[in-house]
Assembly symmetry: C2
Amino acid sequence: MSVVNVGLIGAGTVGCGVIKVLNQNKEIIKNRTGITINLKRIADNDPERKRPVRLPKKKLTRDAWELINDDSIDIIIELVGGTTIAKDFVMGAIKRGKHVVTANKALLAHYGKTIFGEAAKQGVDVGFEASVGGGIPIIKSTQESYAANNILSIHGIMNGTSNYILSTMTEHGYEFEDALKEAQEKGYAEADPSFDIDGIDAAHKLSILIMLSFGTFLNFDKIHVEGIRDITSLDIAYADELGYKIKLLAIAKSRDNGLEAGVYPTLVKKGTQLADVSEAFNAIYVVGDAVGPTMLYGMGAGMMPTASAVVSDVLQIAKHLSLGNTHRSTPRPYGSKNNSSLIKMSDITTKYYLRFQAADIPGILGNITSCLGKHDISIESVIQKSRHLGGGDVPIVIMTHEAREKDLLSALRKISRFKAITGKTNFIRIEEL
Amino acid sequence: MSVVNVGLIGAGTVGCGVIKVLNQNKEIIKNRTGITINLKRIADNDPERKRPVRLPKKKLTRDAWELINDDSIDIIIELVGGTTIAKDFVMGAIKRGKHVVTANKALLAHYGKTIFGEAAKQGVDVGFEASVGGGIPIIKSTQESYAANNILSIHGIMNGTSNYILSTMTEHGYEFEDALKEAQEKGYAEADPSFDIDGIDAAHKLSILIMLSFGTFLNFDKIHVEGIRDITSLDIAYADELGYKIKLLAIAKSRDNGLEAGVYPTLVKKGTQLADVSEAFNAIYVVGDAVGPTMLYGMGAGMMPTASAVVSDVLQIAKHLSLGNTHRSTPRPYGSKNNSSLIKMSDITTKYYLRFQAADIPGILGNITSCLGKHDISIESVIQKSRHLGGGDVPIVIMTHEAREKDLLSALRKISRFKAITGKTNFIRIEEL
């Protein structure tokens, strides 16, 4: 029976989940793995705060460095979050030869190369299953289970807040603001929800999956990111009528001329696996050349699911420690030329949903379609019904065939100058899965 | 750069997939893992057969023991199948200190304890990701990613043939025999399909997941197994009307008094994740006390998906070999008393769908419901429509509340003696997910 000493930095929601899992499943973990995890010390800058679990007083400190400098501790769990002091703690622990487990996607998205590079140098392991998809085993799957594959594409619903809001809008016909309010009331959205609803959080996670799947440490700022603020109940109703749901997807595709990567709302056909992922659930759809299409689904956040992933990483490292193994799972760059270069969004081709707001006058539809045609954009279907928007305006909805984004943007710029166009044109990309 | 020598026994469909993956993704595998897999020798008893890949002549032999006895080979891939010579090969390789990768679910379901016991003794690893769910990473997830969890339940669509047949019946209104014929014509069902459609294959896979999730090496013959031969288009139509789909599920549930384990057709509510798994796809829905509900979805069989899983296991072992690690992932019994004992099917409680065939005479519904009531079975809903079955017979469909199976069986026995009952009563369990 091996005992492995662990130090926990950050006793917030997930930290308390880790304490709870280690307590409640102590026996089963011991029986299953032959390992006892001894949570030796806990650091938190606000030890007095009310928590869902009791923090054992004598293990507590406000000073994380006491843990990092404690020679008897083998593994540091970093659950502070953010990219400032968390980076110091993680790098400090690695430099002192400690293995690290973290749920910190922002940190890895911005400083993954530095962190994994230092870990490789020191011969320590960095576990980060909890950084993407909460308890969903997407990191291990991407890193190990799909290792024999040339990964063709990734489509992830990886932000629970956004998915909850879009699900609520779809189910109840709410506008964005009302759905956001409900999500905040129910604890699915933060007081300042911008990280989630503007797509930043999903983009952090995407950059980690890209690192694993394509061997490319992207410059995070180069990922194209759009959030869900501009989605209206009208768009959701039209999508529904056309047989689609609107989802915020994090997308990466391997193309002959490079890698497409972005986070943006998309129309996804009803009846496909991703379309049915509702509420705050997450799912990641990965296609490999050998394995074919796969999807991993589960709770992408929350105290216990995230703790499940953190503890699974701790157990993996602990197992190797107990066997006297060197275990290096740290990702390293290996990307080929093809998938190291990001394709500009203006160069992607996809199908589009377009919603125009126009004065209800004869000829406007003809003018729009002829402008699109001149820009090489052919039309799959049109919905023009007398759904009045007030002031005599009507919505015109057009689904296009595959078109190049720069052509679409040129056409939309021209159309926006038409006198009959009375409001902002909304365009949403369509993903075929 | 490490080179690891591998021997492949069995160059059938999956074996050819392994050869193909190792060829086509050689570069990406090398870049990603730092390892070159050298497929040194291939054994097959019919080398001349036409195959989707070319077998290199000088590597070929008819004698598997040449590979097992070759000191330069580190890992043996067993893709012979069955429980006779495959067992000899696997045990022989382990005894000679070789690591083994296998896709053989029947072998592990029947002899897992022996095989893993010997592997532990010899200090070698047995990889078996390909034994359940093809390329779906369910083995690794169950064994490692959910390791911190008390697993509460498993519900798996783990037989592609059965799922294809049920999907076809649902979509086209076919009877079982016609759907089976189509599945055979399209290559989704074998000439002798009994292993698949009678639930044996799914039960093999279930016993492997139970071993990993509950630490229990079940006596395979004790798992309750029913196939899909008795499902009629009428049942599927009624299920549809009631808001359900019929799926062949492999089920394990941890209960206070032991473990429920069985493979049988079930009604699954439409709109739930499992209900939407169609065609030959597989999905495994696992609930853990920390991670919550999760689902892993993908192609559960076929040349390339299964090869993806085989090669991922080879790469894991190769990585540890290249690091000079001891890596033991072999499962061992750890089950507590609770989940080592199987609950008898007659003692389970669940909801039921019942379809009676009765003469269309007054009072018959009353007689049935009163008999059910006497056996403590309360009714949730009844469908009695004039859907005539010929000869003046009508179907009566009843959905029950939770009831004990032995009570239900007693009631059904009595009802079968009613004069007005003119055909076999079909009962299908309902699973709430």
